[in-house]
């Protein structure tokens, strides 16, 4: 058993690392869904934009300035998207808002396409994070090790924020009952903006970790991690933060095990890697059918 882990350590390491990155993105999905019942399709692209900002800012500014600046700009981006694309549609049917989200995603990708000229941009090497280390004979990067811990710390901080601060309580109230909390005098718009800003902040952190690992940013870099993070959120029970985190780790690890299937299980590699993305969706569909509310989701009853 120990031998097995030793041999395949690199798959597990990259699985845990990518899982942590998905988790940070997934929280943004799950919080927004919890409050607005909206799948924010543009979230993955916000993550991509954070990566691009870093590429451009770090070319002229030191990391000490560019990193906080990326965090701030991403938060502003998240805030602006909500204000411009979702707020005007608050009373519109759900489908309209979702279409607006798809539109924003399309817009961000095309804007990125235009500004990058459609070429992959090389992500800067952030000191310390990019350094190489060897764990138990498996060479990897510091970022791989840092990711799960950083993710956990951030999740704990976020939980504390939601449990103990006023705005956190307002968030919980809004997610339980939108209308009532509005009547109770909670400033809905403030809560929603705050949710988007928190989600974007975490996405920006995820972008540092993710792109340090996979050193290039393209206009579509955000869509796959975004979709997978979303699947993780659904798996965990959309609306539940711990659910999203656990879901993300499971998906990250499973995906890497499939890619390494040939060597882990000795299955001859006849194109199984093709399915590493399809697997995520198959997984999603099974969950939706068997337990549509996910691991930690609550069941709701339709009123007639």
């Amino acid at each position: 058993m120990a031998d097995f882990f030793h041999q395949n350590l690199s798959y597990f390491l990259s699985g845990i690392s990518v899982g942590g990155q998905y988790a940070l993105i997934a929280i943004g999905y799950t919080m927004v869904y919890g409050i607005l019942r909206l799948i924010n399709f543009a979230h993955g692209d916000v993550f991509m934009c954070a990566g691009l900002m870093m590429v451009y800012l770090s070319s002229s500014l030191p990391f000490a300035i560019s990193i906080p600046l990326v965090l701030i700009l991403t938060v502003i981006l998240g805030f602006a998207i909500e204000r411009v694309a979702y707020k005007p549609l608050r009373s519109a049917p759900r489908m309209s808002v979702m279409i607006s989200a798809i539109g924003v995603s399309y817009l961000l990708q095309n804007a990125a396409l235009y500004f990058t000229g459609g070429l992959a941009r090389v992500y800067p090497e952030i000191p310390v994070l990019s350094a190489s280390v060897v764990i138990w004979d498996a060479p990897t990067r510091v970022v791989t090790l840092v990711t799960p811990f950083l993710t956990l710390v951030l999740v704990i901080l976020l939980s504390l924020l939601i449990k103990h601060t006023k705005i956190g309580m307002a968030m919980r109230a809004v997610s339980v009952d939108f209308e009532t909390s509005q009547i109770m005098g909670i400033k809905i718009n403030k809560v929603i903006s705050m949710t988007f800003m928190l989600g974007s902040l975490l996405a920006a952190v995820a972008s540092f970790l993710y792109f340090t690992n996979y050193a290039s940013v393209t206009p579509t870099s955000g869509s796959m991690p975004g979709l997978k993070a979303f699947v993780a959120a659904v798996f965990g029970g959309i609306g539940s933060i711990p659910g999203a985190v656990i879901g993300a780790f499971i998906i990250g690890i499973c995906e890497n095990i499939i890619k390494g299937g040939a060597s882990i299980f000795g299955i001859p590699g006849s194109g199984w890697t093709t399915f590493s993305d399809a697997f995520t969706f198959a997984f999603l569909i099974i969950i939706l059918i068997v337990k549509p509310t996910g691991l930690f989701g609550e069941k709701s009853v339709d009123k007639v």
Partner: protein, 390 residues
């Protein structure tokens, strides 16, 4: 009310657009050459470098004699976005613009995908660096001035088996990509014929996590990592190979002959060898004047990847332009059908060597493959002995 505004808006947009689309000058002494290249997507970097070669050639020789008249050559450039499904529509744009002959594309997949659109319109195309046999096979309108993958794949396999003494090779191609899939296939054929063993995998579109593939290569006991994929994926592979400590040599085909690779490999612990069409330094005169031209303009410089390294595809693009001019001259006409006819017998001496076409598929008759090794300290290429096959 709003709806009416929307309709008005649409009508306005449509009318200005019709005006925009309709205004086309029809100068009788202009011959248009279409440039069917990717400027974005996976192969954007390579496509831009190839286009630079064509543009440079156009800057050097902007006219051509058709019969007794001097025609100005106008380049029409359409971005096929490295995507097979955009290929047909980019091709249609070029045809609609009135191209007499078309050059391109970097990437075999888009070339195959756009091929039939050109065939139906009867416009000849000269492939520059699309090496997959399917591009020209079974048609009479697609030509090409580079060598083919069965040839390149064989050379690479021989190199891996004989020079690198590898007996087990890890091959990684991109799913649905005709170029990498094809090249890997020919490599595998030759390598197994020599008695070697391969582990072959593919990665899907949009994948950016190569750690597992690199781990697979290490765990399966391979000695060479063969991955003739796009430069975009190559950057990631180089990066992750370095951080994962992939000790084996990395081998790739012509796409990797790009300064993108050099920049990614600079200062890293990787051992990269590529095969290509043209080594910098083979024609010093061309090299020097091209560098001067590139350095004169910041857009050109950034299209070349930020420095003035000459990629083989640029030299090939340069030659392709002259090949097309020669064909127009031979045809004595700007009519696509005449040019298509004349192309079969066209020959030139280009910077990448003598170019003549075989009479079966219209492929270049070439027997030399250049081999380069990436120098991770200087960030340049070290030339290795070229392979000549008779």
């Amino acid at each position: 009310m709003r709806k009416k505004m929307l309709l008005l808006f649409v009508v306005l947009l449509a009318s200005i657009a019709v005006f925009a689309g309709g205004s086309k000058e029809n100068d009788s002494t202009v011959v248009k050459i279409g440039v069917f290249e990717p400027a974005s997507g996976d192969n954007g970097a390579g496509g831009k470098q190839e286009t630079l070669g064509i543009q440079y050639a156009n800057a050097v020789t902007p006219t051509v004699m058709v019969g007794d008249t001097e025609y100005t050559v106008e380049l029409v450039i359409a971005d096929n976005e490295s995507s097979n499904d955009r290929a047909a529509s980019a091709a249609a744009t070029l045809i609609n613009a009135g191209s007499s002959v078309v050059l391109g594309s970097y990437g075999s997949g888009v070339s195959i995908a756009g091929s039939d659109t050109f065939r139906v319109a009867g416009v000849p195309v000269i492939g520059i660096t699309c090496t997959n046999p399917q591009v020209t096979e079974g048609n009479s309108h697609y030509f090409r001035i580079c060598y083919l993958d069965p040839f390149q794949g064989t050379v690479l396999a021989n190199y891996a088996y004989n020079t690198l003494s590898a007996r087990k090779v890890y091959c990684l191609a991109k799913l649905g990509d005709d170029y990498s899939g094809g090249l890997v296939n020919y490599f595998v054929q030759q390598f197994t014929a020599l008695g070697g063993e391969v582990v072959s995998e593919t990665f899907p579109e949009g994948n950016s996590d190569f750690t597992s593939y690199i781990a697979n290569a290490k765990n399966s006991g391979c000695e060479v990592f063969f991955s003739p994929v796009s430069t975009e994926a190559a950057q990631l592979i180089i990066n992750q190979a370095d951080s994962q400590g992939l000790a084996m040599p990395i081998l790739a085909g012509d796409t990797w002959d790009s300064n993108v690779i050099l920049q990614a490999a600079l200062g890293k612990n990787v051992d990269i060898t590529v095969t290509t069409f043209y080594p910098e330094g083979a024609d010093p005169e061309f090299d020097a004047s091209f560098k001067e031209w590139v350095n004169a303009d910041s857009t050109r410089l950034s299209n070349n990847g930020g420095d003035d390294t000459i990629s083989a595809v640029t030299a090939m693009g340069y030659d392709a332009y002259y090949f097309a001019l020669q064909a127009i001259q031979n045809a004595g006409s700007t009519d696509p059908a005449d040019i298509m006819e004349a192309l079969w017998a066209t020959e030139i001496d280009g910077v990448t060597g003598h170019i003549a076409l075989d009479q079966v598929n219209g492929d270049a008759i070439r027997n030399t493959v250049y081999v380069k090794h990436a120098n991770t300290e200087t960030g340049g290429w070290d030339a290795l002995p070229a392979v000549v096959v008779d």
